[in-house]
């Protein structure tokens, strides 16, 4: 009856669902002669990640770190300058692999709630039916799919299918955003600041729902957020980004329990204290996140790092495995020349 069947698993549980290698995206900065100023925003530089089936990969970082660009690269809303992607064993956008359109059947995105996330001229039902209909589902089945989706996200179809976005509260709109992402029965859902614009009490409702949906539909999540607490709650593994690069990557316990990169440590201690008797006494680092237009040479974090040395300006630290996690810091690479590094 439903011609848009959920897609089958191909490579088994050991094969990563998504593998991205060497992704790069630079945006030209407008202005100057002929609209080109010669400068580029180095949004994402040589980024590689893998997502296992059924896991939640959290991505954290501050503004300018490139996490939103990564989200759009993974779903191919933006074309990378360089780099490859492999979805469950199939290369994407290459001769012997799957097309971008086929990728979009399996990978979908939930956007942050804003006035621009839902088309104000369409009813909720029309918005949700758009994707299935565009893939050939007949109208009657599309309507049934819409009812099913609204049910899954806790909105009564009779009440909500005919409503317009401005008649819904923020939490309800975000549920619709999530329903829209699920309309094509994807396997991987990228959530880009999906709960950031919501009130805290509504955020909790939506988080509970996301956890339930993941189990019920066998989804894999990439959860992008600037909110470290929410990422800790939801994720199995966490990736920390700074100025377009990964600085630390590991299991959530390793990252939150034993952070090794100075930036990760700073981020974690920058969280406001929930105990009035143990308030934060000193800011972990000074200054603002720098501009991705002219990132510092070598290690990009060195301008704010209390442990920066000569070698940090000259060489970019590789993302090296240190057991429980991978860290891009000269202090953790034996023989790097940093005074705090082990001598090999």
């Amino acid at each position: 009856m439903d011609s848009l069947l959920p897609l089958e698993d191909r490579g088994g549980p050991a094969q990563p669902l998504l593998l991205a290698s060497g992704l790069r995206k630079h945006f030209p900065v407008p202005g100057g002669l002929l609209g080109r100023s010669g400068k580029v925003v180095r949004a994402v530089d040589d980024l590689s990640l893998s997502v296992a089936k059924g896991e939640t990969l959290g991505v954290v970082g501050e503004s300018g770190c490139g996490k939103s660009t990564v989200a759009r690269l993974l779903i191919r809303l933006i074309k990378p300058d360089r780099g490859t992607m492999v979805l469950d064993g199939d290369p994407v956008d290459e001769p012997h692999g799957i097309t971008v359109n086929e990728l979009r059947r399996q990978v979908q995105m939930v956007f942050q709630d804003s006035y621009a996330s839902l088309n104000p001229r369409l009813t909720i039902g029309e918005t949700l039916a758009f994707a299935p209909k565009a893939h050939g589902l007949p109208a009657a089945e599309a309507r049934a799919r819409v009812r099913d989706l609204l049910d899954k996200v806790g909105l009564d179809p009779i009440n909500y299918a005919e409503r317009y976005p401005h008649e819904l509260s923020g939490g309800q709109r975000q549920r619709v955003n999530i329903a829209r992402a699920l309309a094509l029965r994807p396997r991987l859902v990228i959530l880009d600041e999906a709960v950031s614009a919501l009130d805290k009490s509504v955020e909790a409702q939506v988080l509970n729902m996301l956890v339930d949906l993941k189990t019920e539909l066998g989804l894999t999540y990439i959860f992008i957020s600037h909110d470290l607490n929410v990422v800790q709650y939801l994720s199995d593994r966490v990736l920390v980004m700074y100025l377009g690069k990964i600085v630390e990557l590991g299991s959530v316990e390793a990252i939150y329990g034993n952070p090794q990169h100075p930036y990760t440590r700073a981020l974690l201690s920058a969280r406001p204290s929930m105990d009035p008797r143990r308030r934060t006494k000193e800011a972990p680092i000074q200054g603002d996140p720098p501009n991705p237009i002219d990132p510092p040479s070598g290690c990009r974090f060195r301008t704010r790092c209390p442990f920066a040395e000569d070698v940090c300006a000259r060489f970019e630290p590789p993302l090296a495995d240190t057991g429980a996690q991978a860290v891009a810091c000269h202090m953790r690479v034996a023989g790097s020349g940093h005074s705090k590094a082990a001598t090999s």
């Binding site: 909790a204 929930m274 934060t280």
Partner: protein
């Protein structure tokens, strides 16, 4: 410490041809010099409207006020134009969420701060500039002398926010109003600005009212916290009591549902439903539709704000008011 600001039974209503919105429905609180009152609430709670009412920032035509707001004994709601103009910036200053809109993009930071100083204190040009430089130093902006000549768009978000704080403090106000000043900032910058506000408050002995939706932020800066819901204060207590033992079901729900350390693996206790439509005036407690402890008396009439002991006030029928010498 005497009372700096006294708000009594404040009601603010916005009237438009389409509908009437009861944004604030009877808010009362005090703020003393040298203390920070945090006002915690979600969108639609009326926290920003309350704050802006202290400076009468709402459009006169569409806004109806009642109640009393007294700053050091002077009634703000009935103040004339010139007294109000003196009040703003000089006795009471405000910092906003979006620093980019607080500054005029065509003038340098130094110019704008110096101009404010000159207008309110009558100092000369050189004196005002030197005061501006001192202010930038006070808010820990590096190389303050050079930054005086910077334009707003040349500064980063955190820097602009500090500059806005400098502008606000330029005329030695006794009361500082902060409307979600760190919400738009990155985590590492937010904590810097919070600590700055805390330090400045101690150094300058100003009273601060800090509005936020983030519990962690409220806990970091406040001495007392007031929780607002649907235009009313539902709980008001010293920060330790609010965090250790919140009494109102909404405050408790808010604390329980806020994600933090160590909640991984547990289901979040979410408050069901959504905040009410402020166009309707409820007959009983505004929180009743979402409350897990609702009773018949909750819906019959709106509950009063009652003292519970240790200057802890709660607006809920479930809470027993303090009797003489007996703890609740």
């Amino acid at each position: 410490m005497s009372d700096l600001l006294q708000v009594r039974d404040l009601h603010v209503t916005f009237v438009t041809p389409d509908r009437t919105v009861n944004a604030v429905n009877g808010v009362s609180f005090d703020v003393r010099r040298g203390e920070t009152l945090g006002i915690l609430g979600e969108s639609g709670s009326g926290k920003s409207v309350t704050l802006r009412s202290i400076l009468r920032l709402h459009p006169e035509r569409r806004t109806r006020w009642s109640g009393s707001i007294k700053l050091e004994g002077d009634e703000i709601l009935t103040m004339g134009r010139s007294a109000l103009s003196d009040l703003r910036g000089q006795r009471v200053a405000m910092i906003f969420q979006e620093p980019a809109t607080a500054f005029d993009p065509v003038f340098t930071i130094g110019h704008q701060i110096a101009e404010t100083v000159r207008r309110h204190t009558g100092k000369g040009e050189a004196d005002s500039w030197s005061r501006a430089r001192d202010l930038l130093e006070m808010v820990r902006i590096p190389s303050p002398a050079q930054r005086l000549r910077a334009y707003p768009h040349e500064m980063s978000g955190g820097m602009r926010q500090r500059a806005m704080i400098a502008l606000a403090l330029s005329c030695n106000p006794s009361l500082l109003l902060a409307d979600e000043p760190t919400t738009a900032l990155d985590a590492t910058v937010q904590i810097q600005v919070l600590l700055l506000i805390r330090e400045l408050q101690r150094e300058l002995d100003v009273g601060v009212i800090f509005v936020t939706h983030d519990i962690g932020v409220a806990v970091e800066v406040s001495d007392r916290i007031g929780v607002m819901y649907a235009g009313k204060i539902v709980e008001l207590a010293p920060v330790e009591q609010m965090v250790d033992a919140p009494r109102h079901p909404y405050s408790r729900g808010l604390l329980a549902s806020t994600v933090h350390d160590g909640m991984r693996g547990q289901r979040l206790e979410a408050i069901p439903g959504a905040p009410p439509d402020l166009a309707e005036v409820p007959t009983g407690c505004s929180f009743a539709p979402r409350c897990g402890f609702v009773q018949a008396s909750c819906v019959a009439r709106p509950p009063e704000l009652r003292e519970m002991g240790g200057s802890h006030l709660v607006r809920c029928v479930l809470v027993e008011p303090l009797k003489e010498g007996v703890a609740a």
